[in-house]
């Protein structure tokens, strides 16, 4: 039962009031994309033991989608930030590397 702080309403939300949305920062591939690119976008998902970027919706709260940078092994939450963020910001990356100096961001 994770707790994640919703970056919109500021509430420290419990997992039961959140809906998970899978991996964050995917780039949508539309009708012009190749089979390979579409397959990668649609089906190939990161499943790291460690730092992961995730989509969550504060479904039973303010209803907003947000993103979380989280460690799947230690359960540490490095940052939660608004969904309208195409890539992890410098602040998010700094929060992760502060705890995990060995980690580097691979877009």
């Amino acid at each position: 039962m994770l707790t994640l702080t919703c970056p919109y309403c500021g509430i420290r939300a419990e997992e039961t009031e959140l809906a998970p949305g899978g991996e964050a920062h995917l780039k949508r591939i539309g009708p012009a994309g190749s089979d390979e690119d579409f397959e990668a976008y649609m089906f190939a998902r990161a499943n790291p033991k460690g730092v992961h970027f995730e989509r969550w919706r504060h479904a039973y709260g303010c209803g907003k989608w947000f993103l979380a940078a989280r460690d799947t092994a230690t359960l540490q939450v490095y940052a939660t930030y608004k969904a309208q963020t195409p890539a992890p910001t410098d602040e998010v990356i700094a929060a992760i590397t502060a705890a995990r100096p060995d980690w580097t961001f691979r877009p």
Partner: protein, 976 residues
């Protein structure tokens, strides 16, 4: 030695009140215990030593422990709906009038036929089932499995509903201390600083843990700590509350026993606390380990700590003459307590070469013989301890003497209770000096902030001498995993590790020889630690034996995973109030009560209850459905369609947005018109359908299926917030704001025209797929001319609060027209007769709109929509997909729903190939014959062909592939 029985001592027992006797029943016998007794102490006081039969060999067993780790003394408790199997006698408080039944024995505990397994035990080694029951193949199904199923399972599940109430509650605390022993109380006091809220949970009814039993002045010290804690407003002390599991980010579950086994208390039986803790302090103590010597499971062999608990806490002695066997100083306390209680202590057998601690000296001072480097070679007796033969611990079991006794108090050292610490990722280290796994303070479970959120204290942290000034100097424990060290096979085959599941030293050794190197695999192969006690007394000994057999150090073997709950939780506590009518919320339409009054046969649709049909008089449901269908076809019917999803989409970019959400073009829809739309997921599969109406230049109203309202609204919000967040669109789920009624049938227009109002429903003013608004029967209304039945049809939307008024006005006005309320089943048949698809029948998450002949609802002009790219993948366009057709059975029998059509040949797995399946099947009242729809490979290209549907009964139904539109193919009836 002559037989003796356990008995109540003439004095003593700090937890019992000798003034209050409590009658209870055990296997039909009427017995008496005392206020404060547990079931175990009450039974012992009545001379009952044998309390169960082991699971596999049905060996007689007495209690071996005094607490939550007890593996043997389990009973069926209560009667009828209150019956509960596997209730632990050592932790269940005696309540007046209790009814106990022994388990796993037949015909009785004393004379158990299953005991024959004990004599067969050499033929029942570890992994017996896996090895023996493989061949010949059919024997498993017809012989072995039925026998095993009959004898499997410990205790019997109750069959009646549980009449008790359970509840759940939430709590939040800065610090939660688990364990009300001396370490926990001290930690709570230290934590209770400033405004920090501290919650202390103790699993038993009594504070203090081992301290009051083990230390002079212990009770006073505990009382002093409690007094200080009670004086603090920020501290909550909760007894009878067992912390069952610790989960992510400090989420702690705890079960509080409120009125266990006391149905007359008038309060809920148990309460499940759902606690969010800032910090958790585990002060859960330690559990004593048995020693592995031959016959260590004979009734009368008990953990040394338990022997003295029964004496000190309950004034109960297991027997007259005690032998203590140990590898540590702590067990000498039992010798002292037993001697103080007037029992004879025949000897203390110490496996160590030297024993010189203060406790040892105190025992020697009482002239109790202390024999060092001494082990038990064998326990004499089968149903009760009659004596022990002794040998050198370092030797191979050569007997050097014998001692008569009826109690063996054993201690193999102590293991910290690390369950909560381990539940959520806390790591352990092996402490060689104390021979124990204990929490590694450098690798605790982490909170959301990445910092440790659990701290172990006291014995739970490996500090076995947590009582501070009350402690005395003790010599070092010497690990003893097998007694004697060089014991031959014959002795090892009677050394029990897991009492409940009958796992012996030789079983673990056999597993190791057969290649089971992982402790997790060995656990499952031998069933070590898999019983209801989850191996609390057996695990460390078992993995030490495994390590030795594998010739590797204990930390290299590691432990099995600790999983919640710490002790079993009854399902009633987990469900609590979420049962019966309160299982889930019930959504009702504004016309719900009318349906109920008119005999609705209900169908659950999501959280809604919808009327399936309205049987009248003596009519059965099928007849009602047929009548309703014919009423719509011949006259006019009314359907409560209020549950349909209604999502408002508004804004400058709303049209553009809906062009992405729907496969069709919604931006070009004129104001005042409706259009049928399909929603797909990004991987192309059909997700929902419904009619979209354009309300104004920048506003659309999207109807969804009943089950799709919340899902499609969430789908829209997902794409709006996460992909096209710069588009100016607002969505609102207005499903419950409107009551909606479908008025369908050739006389639908006539009925509407009878109601006063301002809306012109003539064909010219309101053509098919148009909508209008105004007033109807004095109610503000919107009328959509849309049809899901193929008949002339209008859907009326009015404010929810006036839905019933409209519904009744329609019935009133149409009485002479034969106006008929119809339910969801008639609606399904009406649509199937027309070949209209239903989400969830024709679609199942693997079907694209193109499969269903819905290409007409997919815009060819749009550059993009959600699912478009996926629908261009090779597998979607290769022409081999199963596609929608009608199916007409040749002999007039109905084809079962979901039936598969077989093809010639077999697939790679040797199974028959399939070429299609039935998605909807009904008896059509209109056509008076069965109709069906299905998905068939190349279906629309195979009109007229006959395919076979084998049924489970072995028969085959043959069906012809036909057009899915069975009725009114030209569609003329849409215009009345």
């Amino acid at each position: 030695m002559s037989q003796s029985r356990p008995f109540r001592l003439p004095k003593g027992g700090r937890l019992i009140d000798r003034a209050y006797q409590l009658p209870f029943r055990f296997d039909g016998r009427h017995l008496r215990g005392l206020e404060g007794d547990t079931l175990a102490s009450a039974l012992l006081a009545n001379g009952q030593l044998m309390m169960g039969r082991s699971f596999k060999y049905h060996r007689p067993r007495g209690p071996v422990a005094s607490g939550a780790e007890e593996p043997n003394a389990l009973f069926g408790l209560g009667q009828g709906g209150r019956f509960e199997p596997n209730q632990r006698a050592t932790t269940t408080a005696l309540v007046q009038g209790m009814i106990l039944r022994s388990q796993n024995c037949w015909p009785s505990l004393d004379a158990d036929v299953g005991e024959i397994n004990n004599w067969l035990s050499p033929m029942l080694p570890a992994g017996f089932y896996y090895k023996t029951f493989i061949h010949p193949r059919p024997f498993w199904k017809h012989l072995f499995e039925p026998i095993i199923r009959r004898s499997a399972g410990l205790g019997r599940a109750p069959t009646d509903p549980d009449p008790d109430r359970y509840e759940q509650a939430y709590d939040f605390a800065d610090v939660v201390v688990v364990g009300g022993g001396i370490a926990g109380l001290k930690a709570a006091l230290a934590a209770a600083k400033g405004r920090r809220r501290v919650l202390v949970l103790e699993q038993s009814p009594n504070w203090g843990g081992r301290t009051p039993v083990d230390h002079k002045g212990g009770e006073a010290e505990i009382e002093a700590l409690l007094a200080e804690l009670r004086a603090k407003k920020t501290v909550t002390l909760r007894r009878n509350t067992m912390a069952t599991g610790l989960y992510d980010h400090g989420y702690l579950l705890a079960r509080e026993a409120l009125a266990d086994h006391d149905p007359n208390a008038g309060i809920p039986r148990q309460r499940l606390w759902r606690i969010r803790a800032g910090q958790v302090i585990t002060a859960t103590g330690a559990l004593e380990r048995p020693l592995a010597f031959s016959g260590n499971d004979v009734p009368g062999v008990m953990l040394a700590s338990a022997v003295r608990d029964f004496i000190v806490d309950y004034g109960v002695a297991l027997g007259q003459r005690v032998v203590v066997v140990t590898n540590n100083d702590d067990a000498y306390r039992t010798a002292l307590v037993a001697a103080d209680a007037g029992l004879e202590v025949a000897a203390v057998l110490d496996a160590r070469v030297q024993a010189e601690g203060e406790l040892v000296q105190a025992v020697r001072a009482r002239n109790i013989p202390v024999l060092t480097n001494t082990a038990i070679a064998k326990v004499k007796g089968s149903r009760q301890v009659e004596g022990v033969s002794i040998c050198d611990q370092s030797g191979d079991g050569h007997v050097t003497g014998g001692i008569d006794c009826d109690v063996v108090a054993m201690s193999g050292g102590w293991s910290p209770v690390v369950h909560l610490w381990s539940h959520c990722g806390g790591k352990l280290i092996w402490d060689e000096a104390q021979a124990m796994f204990r929490p590694d303070p450098d690798r605790p479970p982490l909170g959301a902030d990445g910092k440790g959120n659990v701290t172990a204290v006291g014995a739970a942290a490996g500090d076995l001498r947590a009582a501070g000034d009350l402690e005395r100097d003790e010599g070092q424990t010497q690990p003893v995993w097998v007694m004697p060290a060089q014991a031959p096979y014959k002795l090892r085959a009677k050394m029990w590790l897991d009492y409940q599941n009958d796992v012996k030293v030789t079983d673990v050794e056999l597993a190791a020889r057969e290649g089971y190197a992982s402790v997790e695999h060995t656990k499952r192969y031998t069933t070590l630690g898999m019983a209801t006690d989850q191996g609390k007394v057996s695990n460390i000994n078992g993995l030490a034996i495994l390590s030795k057999a594998l010739d590797q150090p204990i930390p290299a073997t590691g432990t099995t995973t600790f999983r919640p709950p710490y002790t079993p939780l009854t399902l009633g506590t987990i469900a609590a109030d979420a049962r019966g009518d309160a299982f889930q919320p019930l959504r009702k339409t504004p016309m719900h009560d009318w349906h109920a009054r008119n005999g609705a046969h209900w169908e659950p649709v999501g959280l809604w209850r919808r009327a399936y049909a309205y049987p009248k008089g003596g009519e059965d449901v099928h007849a009602a459905v047929a009548r309703e269908v014919l009423a719509v076809r011949n006259s006019v019917g009314l359907l409560d369609a209020s549950t349909l999803g209604k999502i408002l989409v508004k804004g400058p970019d709303a049209g553009r947005f809906l062009d992405m959400i729907y496969t069709g073009m919604m931006s070009s829809l004129p104001v005042g018109k409706c259009r049928y739309g399909l929603v797909c997921s990004e991987n192309g599969f059909l997700s929902d359908d419904g009619v979209v109406a354009r309300l104004s230049d920048d506003t659309w109203l999207c109807h969804t299926t009943t089950g799709g309202a919340d899902r499609i609204h969430a789908h829209m919000e997902d794409w709006l917030q996460c992909e096209w967040w710069d588009w100016q669109v607002y969505t609102a789920n207005a499903t419950e704001q409107y009551a909606q009624v479908a008025v369908a049938g050739p006389k639908a227009r006539e009925l509407l025209q009878r109601l006063p109002g301002t809306i012109d429903v003539s064909p010219e003013a309101l053509p098919f797929m148009a909508w209008a608004e105004g007033e109807l029967a004095g109610i503000p209304a919107r009328i959509y001319r849309i049809s899901f039945s193929g008949e002339l049809s209008f859907e009326l939307a009015v404010p929810a609060g006036r839905g019933l008024e409209l519904w009744e006005a329609l019935h009133q006005a149409g009485r002479d027209l034969g106006v008929t309320a119809y339910g969801t089943e008639a609606m399904h048949i009406l649509r199937a007769e027309k070949g209209y698809i239903m989400i969830g029948d024709e679609s199942d998450g693997t079907v694209i709109p193109q499969d269903l002949g819905l290409g007409w609802a997919i815009s060819k002009k749009k550059p993009d929509y959600i699912g478009k790219r996926a629908q261009a993948r090779s597998h979607m366009i290769d022409g081999n997909r199963w596609r929608l057709v009608g199916l007409e059975s040749l002999d007039g029998r109905m084809i079962p729903d979901g039936a598969y059509a077989v093809d010639a040949g077999e697939n790679a797995n040797g199974q028959k190939k399939m070429q299609g399946r039935v998605t909807s099947t009904y008896h059509s009242p209109t056509l008076n014959r069965p109709i069906a729809m299905g998905l068939v490979r190349h279906g629309p290209e195979r009109m007229g062909q006959v395919i076979d549907f084998p049924t489970p009964s072995g028969e085959t139904i043959r069906a012809r592939i036909v057009d899915p539109v069975f009725y009114d193919k030209e569609g003329g009836r849409l215009n009345g």
